[in-house]
């Protein structure tokens, strides 16, 4: 018997038996149950935000020159609106750290000479200077925000009080540290 006819007859035989039908229904139910079990294990990837997208807890933002605590991959401040590097006083800067205007031209002072660069400090390090506590970046986690992948980064310390003034949470921190304040790194990866 040709192969395909052989298959068809086998298939018909299976289809026509009650046991075959029950086996299929049982298999389908098992598959659905397994899928639902896995579904309960995993978390929503695009979560409700508190004060910026992806931040699922209530801890406040780390002090940032322009407000929202956006950082680059190394922890330095970026302007939240467009991701442009900024210095500690919130001025857009070029690769050399010189303040620049909207066209990327170095800003000149009243004497016609380029304005001197201001320090550019990692946001989490700046917390140490402002609050007099030791901080470190421990864990991080990525979520989908507005169609792009965002990394949520906790600035952690052994301090039991967070920037909000109340009890600090563990968040993504480890080694006995807790979240003092939060920051984020936006990627250009779509999701």
């Amino acid at each position: 018997m040709p192969e395909h006819l052989d298959r068809i007859t086998d298939s018909l035989a299976r289809d026509s038996s009650r046991r075959g039908f029950l086996a299929r229904v049982g298999g389908a139910l098992m598959a659905i149950t397994a899928a639902r079990t896995v579904g309960t294990l995993i978390e929503p990837g695009e979560s409700e935000a508190f004060h910026f997208c992806g931040h699922t807890f209530t801890t406040g933002s780390c002090p940032h020159p322009t407000g929202l605590p956006r950082i680059d991959s190394r922890g330095f401040p970026l302007r939240a609106s467009d991701g442009h590097p900024i210095d500690d006083v919130g001025r857009p800067v070029n690769d050399a750290g010189q303040p620049v205007d909207g066209n990327g031209q170095v800003l000149d002072g009243p004497d016609g000479r380029p304005l001197p660069p201001a320090p550019r400090t990692r946001i989490c390090d700046r917390v140490q200077n402002i609050y007099g506590i030791r901080t470190s970046i421990d864990g991080a986690w990525y979520r989908c925000c507005g169609g792009k992948v965002r990394k949520l980064v906790d600035c952690c310390s052994h301090h039991n009080t967070r920037i909000n003034g109340d009890a600090a949470l563990t968040g993504y921190c480890f080694g006995g540290r807790k979240v003092f304040c939060v920051q984020y790194y936006d990627t250009r990866v779509p999701c």
Binding site: M1, E3, H4, D6, R7, D10, S11, A13, R24, G27, A31, V38, G39, L41, I42, E43, P44, G45, E46, S73, R74, I137, D138, G139, A140, W141, Y142, R143, C144, V149, K151, T170, Y172, F174, G175, Y185, T187, R188, V189, P190, C191
Partner: protein, 329 residues
């Protein structure tokens, strides 16, 4: 031995798995099991990487092996139409990947973050590996994942499904195993910047997925149709048996062989036949049954005088000469 079809699909699965690293889940795992994600240092990172790999492969095997088994259950393995449907699915996905189309439907789920806090890191890494290897529990970053699922289901060949699952899981694991130990180091930060700030890298990988899927689609069309034959006839051969993806025959004065697009593989015995999930040959006064995909021996069935056989999932028929000069089935 793997034929061109298996190689093309396996490579596509590997690349599609690697593309998944760009998901929130893949990036999270890199940071989590890397040395900056815990207090255990490099030793814990190595242990977590070692645990992640089999987890990812197991997840892939589970998904694509199950889909292939389901396909086998629904319509049986192989068949020309099945291969053409699978090729169409792969081509559609390739076109969408080449255009960089936004992934739809998307699974907007992330790994359970708290696992890394409540379990030893290697255990959490193994479980994260399983979820990433499964492919459909978290964000999907390539239409290739949907295509691999469709191909597995359409072809309905459990061995091919396991191959796809293994390669997919391996593809998911390799970038993570390469990048996690570098997390926090200058080279790791540069790698993160490359992945996260240069959209061309992700687009390039999706382009690679498109090329690999196109090659797989061509293999699905060409290889099963020819069973690897270079022409329409084979000299010095007799007693053929064929499916969409395999041709078996008896070499005159030589062994029974099977050809699946690669080199001919000799089989023990004579009068080869293929059907369902089995290959069968006659050896002495017995019929030997082999696994259709791996050719592993499965059973030896007494069949005195057998000189022709046919096999399917549920039947074995053979012809034997009777003492009175006739034949019996």
């Amino acid at each position: 031995m793997l034929g061109p079809l298996e190689i093309a699909l396996g490579f596509a699965a590997l690349l599609i798995g690697a593309t998944g690293t760009f998901s929130p889940c893949g990036l999270s795992v890199i940071d989590t099991i890397g040395p900056t994600g815990h207090t255990g240092g490099r030793r814990t990172t190595v242990a977590a990487c070692v645990a992640f790999l089999p987890g990812a492969i197991a997840g892939g095997l589970l998904t694509f092996g199950s889909l292939a088994a389901l396909g086998d259950l629904l319509h049986g393995a192989g068949g020309r139409v099945s291969y053409l449907v699978a090729a169409a699915i792969a081509l559609l996905a390739a076109a969408l990947e080449a255009r960089g189309t936004r992934i739809v439907p998307q699974i907007r789920r992330q790994l359970p973050e708290h696992w890394r806090r409540v379990m030893p890191m290697p255990v959490a890494a193994a479980l994260y590996g399983v979820l990433l290897g499964i492919g459909f529990t978290t964000f999907v970053l390539s239409f290739g994942v949907w295509a691999l699922a469709g191909v597995s289901l359409a072809v309905g060949d459990p061995a091919l499904g396991l191959l796809l699952g293994g390669c997919f899981g391996l593809g998911r694991a390799i970038p993570i195993l390469a990048l996690a130990p570098l997390a926090g180091r200058p080279s790791g930060i540069r790698a993160t910047e490359l992945m996260c700030e240069r959209p061309g890298v992700y687009r390039g990988l999706r382009g690679g997925d498109a090329v690999a899927l196109t090659a797989a689609a061509l293999a699905l069309i060409v290889v099963p149709g020819s069973a690897g034959a270079a022409g329409t006839s084979i000299a010095h051969a007799t007693d053929p048996s064929a499916t969409a993806d395999a041709l078996l025959f008896q070499r005159l004065g030589g062994p029974a062989v099977i050809s699946r697009g690669g080199p001919e593989v000799p089989l023990p015995g004579s009068h080869p036949a293929i059907g369902g999930r089995y290959v069968a040959t006659v050896q002495g006064s017995s019929v030997l049954l082999f696994d259709r995909n791996t050719l592993a021996p499965l059973a030896q069935i007494p069949a005195a005088g057998a000189n022709a056989i046919a096999v399917s999932d549920s039947w074995l028929a053979y012809r034997a000469s009777t003492g009175g000069g006739g034949d019996a089935i």
